[in-house]
């Protein structure tokens, strides 16, 4: 077959930069989550304000065992301490996530990715359109063929929430727990109500990110796991869904 006989390639469903950054962020998020849980179990108590320790009243306590015998948990045993490597990996994964995120943002803004693919159109945001889409999701309706090529409005809104609210917030509250960064930008901490508040918000934002991850994977599963994951890896949809 000569070049002139090759069929015209259809455009990729996802640009290469979106696919690469998607999986880099996925890997670093999973590393951050695992190591975050390890760090958390060394003190599964949460506080509000500037200070908090086993001598002060917690805002709430997680009903789990701890990796420190100084924390009263009600369990008769202490889990092994995994904080050393967990901390090294947490901060390295954080760098990968932040640098990858910046690359993605630069691409998203400069190439119109956010405008074309993520910002919903005003008509999509009308109450009837939103209600229809919510109802369809609640009935676990199968996505239309169009949606293989374009995100629906709920999808757009949840991606925007993750990209522009949850990730910035989890990074901010993470930085606010660094004693050195605190000295450089005190407003990062005082703006949140204190160091322990930052830690507590960090925890809740993580819960929301995990919820997003679970729903995201469920939706991908309902839409056709192989097709959608394939499109996010190689960029192309199977022949049957391709627009000719």
């Amino acid at each position: 077959m000569t070049i002139s006989q090759m069929p015209e390639p259809s455009p990729p469903r996802h640009p290469a930069i979106v696919r690469v950054t998607h999986w880099l962020i996925t890997l670093s998020f999973l590393a951050l989550l695992l190591t975050g849980v390890e760090i958390l179990i060394s003190h599964p108590r949460f506080y509000w304000g500037e200070i908090g320790n086993v001598n002060t009243r917690p805002l709430f306590t997680l009903p789990i065992p701890s990796s420190r015998d100084t924390v009263p948990t009600g369990y008769g045993y202490v889990l092994p301490d995994q904080n050393g490597w967990s901390r090294y990996l947490h901060f390295e994964a954080a760098w990968i996530a932040v640098l990858t995120g910046l690359l993605y943002l630069a691409f998203g803004f400069s190439k119109g990715h956010f405008r074309q693919n993520l910002f919903p159109s005003p008509s999509d945001l009308s109450p009837t359109s939103l209600a229809t889409d919510i109802a369809r999701h609640l009935h676990f309706g199968r996505p239309t063929d169009d949606e293989a090529w374009s995100y629906n409005v709920l999808q757009r809104l949840s991606y925007l929430l993750v990209i522009f609210v949850l990730f910035p917030l989890v990074i901010w509250t993470g930085l606010a727990m660094s004693p050195a960064i605190e000295g450089i930008f005190p407003a990062l901490v005082t703006g949140l109500g204190g160091r322990q508040s930052a830690r507590t918000i960090h925890f809740f934002v993580t819960i929301f990110l995990v919820l997003f991850l679970l729903i995201h994977v469920l939706m991908v599963y309902l839409a056709g796991f192989r097709k959608r994951v394939g499109a996010m890896i190689v960029g192309r949809l199977p022949k049957a869904v391709e627009r000719l």
Binding site: P9, I51, G52, N53, W95, M177, P179, I184, Q196
Partner: protein
């Protein structure tokens, strides 16, 4: 292979090459300016170097946050301390009169200071928090001699880059770079909340490094060594923390 994929391949190759060259240049610059932490290994070295270098570039003159008196924790948590041993007991029985802080290494005038001598030096007081890597924290008023004052007394030689400090507990030794050692809030702490520094909190002598986590704030300090390289100490990772799996730099 069609034109587009060849062009893509060349572009990807160029980008990859430029990236690798950029990394090599960045690593060289970091090394030249002493921005690679001593525990930087293959796996976590890049992340640790990014953190340490970024914070050093930003934080050389920044101050740890100070609090009003009303924020001082009423019931601070001292954390557990391993058994202190016979030598500590002997010194404690003698009201720490024989406690000495030895200073050696790259200094013009090596010396050993008693607590009484330390108390006669100009004092500094700060209300700052101490935060454990586990997540908990408290605020206290700490008073003592700025480490910078002592280092000026003994005369640090120009090639010095780190200060190693050791606890009377043989498993505990740490080190900080000169930026932290000469920082005005880095304090040889003798007092807490208006009284003597209690033994559970590190008394009679603790080094406060408020811009780093609790484990860099070693209790029961007996000696300091000023040095240009950490290679010859322990396993060469900078302190006992990385030997136990924890990062040397704890400014996070």
């Amino acid at each position: 292979m069609n034109k587009i994929s060849r062009r893509k391949l060349i572009t990807a190759g160029l980008v990859g090459g430029a990236g690798a060259a950029g990394l090599a240049v960045a690593a060289n610059i970091a090394k030249r300016f002493g921005l690679i932490p001593p525990d930087a290994g293959v796996l976590y070295g890049p992340g640790e170097t990014l953190t340490y270098a970024a914070q050093r570039l930003l934080s050389r003159h920044s101050m740890a946050r100070e609090f009003p008196r009303t924020e001082i924790s009423k019931d601070p948590f001292a954390n557990e301390v391993d058994p202190l041993g016979a030598e500590f007991k002997r010194l404690q029985d003698g009201a720490f009169v024989d406690w000495r802080l030895a200073v050696d290494g790259m200094v013009a005038r090596p010396a050993a200071f008693s607590l009484a001598e330390l108390k006669s030096f100009p004092h500094s007081t700060q209300i700052t928090f101490i935060a454990c890597e586990e997540g908990w924290s408290y605020v206290a008023e700490w008073s003592g001699v700025p480490l910078a004052h002592l280092l000026n007394l003994v005369g640090v030689l120009p090639q010095a880059r780190y200060v190693v400090y050791r606890s009377i507990q043989p498993d505990w030794w740490e080190s900080i770079d000169m930026a932290d050692a000469l920082h005005p809030q880095t304090l040889l702490t003798l007092g807490m909340n208006g009284g003597e520094l209690p033994v559970p909190f590190g008394g009679p002598l603790r080094l406060r490094v408020p811009r780093q986590l609790g484990y860099k704030n070693v209790k029961y300090i007996t000696s300091l060594t000023v040095i240009d390289s950490l290679k010859r100490f322990g396993k060469g990772l900078g302190s006992s923390a990385p030997e136990g799996g924890y990062a040397w730099y704890a400014g996070i």
